[in-house]
């Protein structure tokens, strides 16, 4: 059964991409009114397990990273003015802990729309150059500095912003920034230095997708970084059977994240895409739960 899912993985990713951006009515309304309109359906109250910008016209659900930063901003402002804090942020933290605790970075491999975008673009070149460790460690700066520290420690209330979304996130630029700028002429007049920075970041990543698979997931994604912490302790994990493994290294060649599969399969970088499982000739790799039983075995 797992075989079937692995074969259809791209279709499953496409399905999630469409579901997570299914408020087509909002998109059509936005285009017909020539105004930047974002879906305001009640579904926006739900967090989606992937990087899917809130501001994309047809997006349903909220990006947990964007919501987290906004909650940090709100909390700082309220503390500044001795107001009661909104407890909504604990829902976000709870959501991330629950999803990560169950399956670690599985959502990166199967659900995240931006992951899907990267996978599809890389199919044109099928190149996957490994990225130096120092550049890969930038994802910790992305998470700790841009998502947590900046939104929490900037005390000037006019500077409180979701800094990752504002300066870096290429997913937001691609799926929200570009469509909204195309639709709304008024918005184009508000373009500034930040717009240039964001387009530059997007351009760099778009080029990198053709050279190194999942380069954004490797180097910048704060959501993947959070889930990565859970990879070693999550309910669902991967296992390599050392007895049947022939050390052919096909898994490492195929791995989009360039992980040393045979040595460290539950590394914080693993997105649990199951490509190693697909390619292993001796079927030595499998999904497991912490209770050490094999699940979804073919």
């Amino acid at each position: 059964m797992l075989d079937f899912f692995i074969k259809c993985k791209n279709w499953i990713q496409l399905l999630f991409f469409l579901i997570l951006n299914s408020d087509v009515f909002a998109l059509i309304r936005s285009i017909s009114l020539k105004r930047a309109l974002i879906s305001q359906s009640p579904l926006k109250n739900i967090f989606v397990p992937g990087l899917n910008c809130y501001s994309c016209p047809s997006a349903i659900g909220s990006c947990p990273i964007g919501s987290l930063q906004f909650w940090f901003n709100d909390t700082v402002q309220r503390i500044n003015f001795s107001e009661k804090i909104d407890l909504a942020g604990f829902y976000i933290i709870g959501f991330l802990t629950l999803t990560g605790g169950i399956c670690g970075r599985l959502f990166c491999g199967w659900v995240c729309p931006f992951g899907f975008t990267q996978d599809i673009l890389n199919k044109f070149t099928r190149k996957n150059l490994p990225i130096p460790k120092i550049i890969k460690s930038f994802r910790y700066i992305s998470l700790f500095f841009f998502v947590i520290i900046l939104p929490l420690f900037i005390f000037d209330i006019t500077m409180l912003s979701p800094w990752f979304c504002k300066l870096l996130c290429p997913e937001g630029t691609l799926k929200a920034g570009i469509p909204l700028l195309l639709i709304d002429e008024n918005l184009r007049q508000a373009a500034s230095v930040i717009t240039i920075i964001k387009f530059f970041v997007l351009a760099v990543f778009l080029i990198s997708f053709f050279i190194s698979r999942r380069s954004f997931c490797k180097t910048l994604c704060p959501l993947g970084t959070i889930w990565g912490f859970f990879n070693r302790i999550s309910l669902l994990r991967l296992k390599v059977d050392k007895h049947t493994c022939t050390n052919c290294m096909l898994c490492e060649k195929k791995c989009p994240m360039n992980i040393k599969v045979t040595e460290d399969i539950n590394s914080s970088e693993c997105i649990r895409c199951a490509e190693c499982i697909k390619v292993c000739p001796s079927q030595s790799i499998s999904f497991q739960t912490i209770f050490n039983s094999e699940i979804l075995n073919v």
């Binding site: 105004r35 930047a36 309109l37 974002i38 906004f70 901003n73 709100d74 402002q77 309220r78 500044n80 003015f81 107001e83 460790k133 120092i134 460690s137 910790y140 700066i141 700790f144 500095f145 520290i149 900046l150 420690f153 900037i154 005390f155 000037d156 209330i157 006019t158 500077m159 409180l160 912003s161 709304d184 008024n186 918005l187 007049q189 508000a190 070693r232 460290d264 539950n266």
Partner: protein
């Protein structure tokens, strides 16, 4: 499985700690807190607030969670100080009414000095407010401009100057006149009252009238429904490289807002060797 602790993440960790300590030392800008009026408009139409106020209205929608809005509000307070007699700023917060305390404290911190309404719905003039900040420029109860997103101080200063004076400058040349230029500049004082400036300037190499000649005369034709004061303009002479200007008050009592006035000019334009008599009619469109 024991994790290898690499040196690089550790270094990164220390760098992050240092930056955090640095940021926590940043001082919040201390701004003057001034009095502003806070109005509850939860269930009322926001237009009730500015109906009947004969100024340029700048209606700005903002929210406590929108940082660019707060930067703009500091600029608005500065502009309100400068243009208080001509412009009214209104800040409409789309936060829920339960956030009234937070709104008050934020406005105090930012030094807001213009009226704030809160608890309004994110709806205005039958359009949803979907982007913040959103600003409407309103004159005579009509929306003349809609601005999405943050703009800077200079942008709003130019916008205000554009709309508080209606100025039209028209250069009028009498045929292929090579002797002088007549320019007019119309400033609208209010709905029916205008200030017309007429500027007369000889071209290079010429001077107008002077010793031995009668004065230059401009006679504006009388018209029913249009009050022109003065109707007869004159000046003894205008030397080369100089100019002369007249100010005329024009009041339109007619039904239509478009009208024109006709004027006759009698000038003697002289160069070094020759003099020319020019009697011409010209028309000024309003």
């Amino acid at each position: 499985m024991k994790e290898k602790i690499n040196k690089q993440p550790r270094k990164l960790f220390y760098i992050i700690i240092i930056i955090t300590l640095f940021l926590s030392c940043t001082k919040d800008a201390q701004l003057q807190s001034t009095n502003f009026e806070l109005h509850d408009y939860t269930n009322k139409d926001i237009q009730d607030f500015y109906k009947g106020i004969n100024k340029l209205i700048i209606l700005n929608f903002w929210a406590t969670y929108c940082s660019p809005c707060k930067i703009e509000m500091i600029d608005f307070s500065k502009l309100y100080n400068e243009y208080q007699d001509k412009v009214l700023f209104i800040g409409a917060s789309i936060d829920s009414a339960t956030n009234m305390d937070l709104i008050k404290k934020i406005c105090n911190k930012l030094g807001v000095n213009y009226p704030i309404v809160y608890g309004v719905e994110s709806y205005f003039n039958n359009t949803e407010i979907t982007t913040l900040p959103k600003t409407f420029i309103i004159k005579n109860n009509k929306i003349i401009e809609e601005i999405d997103g943050k703009r800077d101080y200079n942008f709003y200063k130019n916008t205000i100057n554009k709309y508080i004076t209606d100025s039209v400058t028209k250069k009028l040349l009498l045929g292929d006149n090579k002797y002088f230029i007549i320019e007019n500049n119309i400033t609208k004082k209010d709905n029916n009252n205008y200030l017309l400036n007429i500027l007369l300037q000889p071209k290079q190499g010429y001077y107008l009238n002077g010793e031995g000649y009668p004065p230059i005369e401009i006679n504006i034709k009388e018209q029913e429904g249009i009050i022109i004061n003065p109707r007869k303009l004159s000046v003894p002479a205008v030397a080369e490289n100089q100019s002369f200007a007249w100010e005329i008050d024009v009041t339109n009592r007619k039904q239509s807002s478009n009208f024109r006035i006709e004027a006759f000019i009698k000038i003697i334009a002289c160069s070094q060797n020759q003099c020319h008599i020019i009697n011409e009619e010209f028309i000024i469109e309003f």
